[in-house]
Symmetry: C2
Subunit: 403 residues, 2 copies
């Protein structure tokens, strides 16, 4: 056997690997950002930085900055707060929050001379409908711990496709199976968790931190191990933008079929697929359904359309009732179907909404119906409006009540 010249090769490799990091990143198109941003400081203030030597003004929009009132042609409007950066040495602009931020999951973006731009130093961005936000987390008590990835057993998150003969499409969903599911033989209850308008099968997992909340609540014994299914609530679409056969399409909220009854009507296809392919408890007592906003609307209608399917129902900031001009058998005989559902005594009917939510009033009207008929439900009113912060809180409170 020819003996290899190890020394020569290893010296060569040292040189090659030193330059290799650059070359390996040659498709990265430009070097990594030279500043750290955002930086969560030890006292939980947060510093943002941008190197922009030619900029005249650098600003920050963030959901941790108090909203401001802005005069517009259509009147005074509440707008996200904005803060000014200060230029420091070497063209680096900097902003530090004046107060420590409470533990939470936050979003922001930069504005450079009037142009909104993503933070080039932050690799962690999430799409919310038609915008990309930079995100960070402040760890710590309650929300911070619950939304963080901690050293606890982690469930599996899968992107799974199912055939929908009713909708004529292959469709994508996300499925969370709890730690221990793989290689086990136990059967689990299932929560079907529905997103809002403009969301998709990724929304609850990305913006809602659902898998972190589940991992943490299950690990601490506060929630039962369960499977959670996140379908896509627009029956005209296969999947989230970028994950379907129309390629890197543009997200839109102008969705023609989101609240037309078709999704609700076809929902048993999803339940059947899950019951066939996962180790589920295949009965009403092993199934829950909940959703936010449009997903609350879907939950309302699906749960009464199939009154033997779900024992636990959660309406989070729900868009209650069909809207003008929509007709589908699913929406017919609303009160009779609700009466049937309630006569079967669901184990939980939970309604949550924020006091400034634009859907507060229809929820109030709906509760009047429930009250007038002595239907049992639990009502949870929170601060704030129609925002992910509230939906994460509602999920954290809802999960421990299940199964």
């Amino acid at each position: 056997m020819k003996v290899m010249n190890f020394k020569k090769l290893s010296v060569l490799m040292a040189a090659l690997l030193a330059c290799g990091i650059g070359a390996m990143a040659q498709q990265a198109l430009w070097s990594a950002a030279e500043v750290v941003s955002p930086e969560v400081n030890p006292d939980n203030t947060v510093t943002f930085r941008l190197k922009a030597p030619k900029a005249v003004k650098v600003q920050l929009l963030g959901d941790f900055i108090p909203n401001r009132l802005v005069d517009t042609p259509s009147g005074v409007v509440e707008m996200p707060g904005i803060a000014d950066f200060t230029e420091t040495e070497g063209g680096v602009w900097e902003y530090t929050t004046p107060e420590p931020l409470k533990p939470e999951f936050y979003s922001y973006t930069f504005v450079v001379d009037g142009l909104k731009m993503s933070d080039p130093s932050n690799m962690h961005k999430l799409r919310d409908t038609g915008t990309i936000n930079d995100v960070f987390i402040v760890k710590g008590a309650e929300a911070g711990d619950l939304y963080s990835i901690n050293d606890v057993p982690h469930g599996t998150v899968s992107k799974v496709w199912y055939e929908s003969p009713k909708l004529g499409l292959q469709r994508r969903m996300s499925v969370y199976t709890p730690a221990g599911y793989e290689g086990g033989s136990k059967r689990y209850p299932v929560l079907y968790l529905l997103h809002g308008m403009g969301g998709d099968e990724n929304a609850w997992l990305e913006l809602g931190r659902a898998s972190q909340i589940l991992d943490n609540l299950i690990a601490s014994g506060k929630a039962k191990p369960m499977i959670v299914v996140f379908p896509n609530g627009n029956p005209a679409l296969e999947s989230a933008p970028g994950h379907g056969s129309n390629g890197f399409s543009r997200p839109t909220t102008a969705l023609p079929k989101t609240m037309t009854g078709e999704y609700e009507d076809a929902f048993p296809e999803i339940v059947n697929f899950i019951d066939k392919n996962y180790r589920t408890i295949k009965s009403k007592k092993g199934r829950a359904i909940a959703g936010l906003s449009m997903g609350g609307y879907h939950t309302l209608h699906i749960s009464k359309q199939y009154p033997d399917m779900f024992d636990y129902v959660g309406l989070f900031s729900a868009a209650i009732m069909p809207y003008e001009g929509v007709s589908h058998p699913v929406y017919d005989n609303f009160e009779e179907k609700l009466a049937t559902q309630m006569a079967k005594s669901p184990a939980l009917y939970w309604i949550a909404i924020g006091e400034t939510d634009f859907l507060y009033k229809p929820n109030e009207e709906f509760r009047k119906i429930l009250d007038a008929n002595n239907y049992k439900y639990i009502y949870r009113e929170s601060e704030g409006g129609h925002i992910w912060r509230n939906w994460r809180i509602y999920l954290s409170e809802f999960l421990p009540m299940l199964f």
Copy 2:
């Protein structure tokens, strides 16, 4: 039963839902971009747009623009190509490629008055080591079709955690199971597909379009249905940045333990986990391993360290041999271990590299050893260098040779 005032409610809902789309996006922080970018035109030219009324100069960096030679203090360096936008009406800047682009998966970013910025109109961005690139796909023959999500049965992609007692961590991997896996009883062969330095368990699926390539090759009968496992190749880390217990950490290429023998040594933990939890063919003939760059290095060492584990081996632009100063039993007796592996006649030993790859020479040296010893392998030399475009091609060619 009190009859609900449907008409009143439905009118209310119409109004609320009309304004609701705005309110539902209230955490989006700013309105969606007003221009379409990128736009793949019918002739496969591509138009990029940015609304930036105050900008003086807007440029485009993209991997579809020919590289340029730049004078730097350290000599002439090849840099990514750059193109200038033209200002059109209303402060909208526009650039259209002078020629149609070939079907491919492309990356780019904008440069506004010298400041690199992500395209605010494009929701589809991918991280490559420490940078975020905007991406798009030009569909069509070969690459374009192979990397697209087509109307074929889709496999499941899961993010799964396993315990590594040897490394003292819970660690995250990605797992592709082919269409039909769920609810079936068939056993499948497994490919272990390893990433390069700066990559992670997401890299092959995001930048490498691995699940699309698999779906498409399996659907057309060109590749056998198989499970593909994408572990994280840095044994000091739990996961990709943002998916582990250190939160939204910054990605780095300064990874202390990536090529030290520990990962290779602990690799059977991954194989055992997969064999325990998935319906695999639990033998050498049912296992393949391949990797790009550092993952090729890992593949080289893992496959000879465990010569009864893998029947198919693929080195894609592999970083061959240990480098200076690294000592680990995995690297001892290199030639003897290689002789043992080759004596057991692996079904395939495949080496691929680009003619301008900075790792070309060490691969050539390695092939000399193989040739001198009459070890059987297949050699594939391509155009180009150390880039994802080549690795997608290599994967597309490697998969049909397996199992």
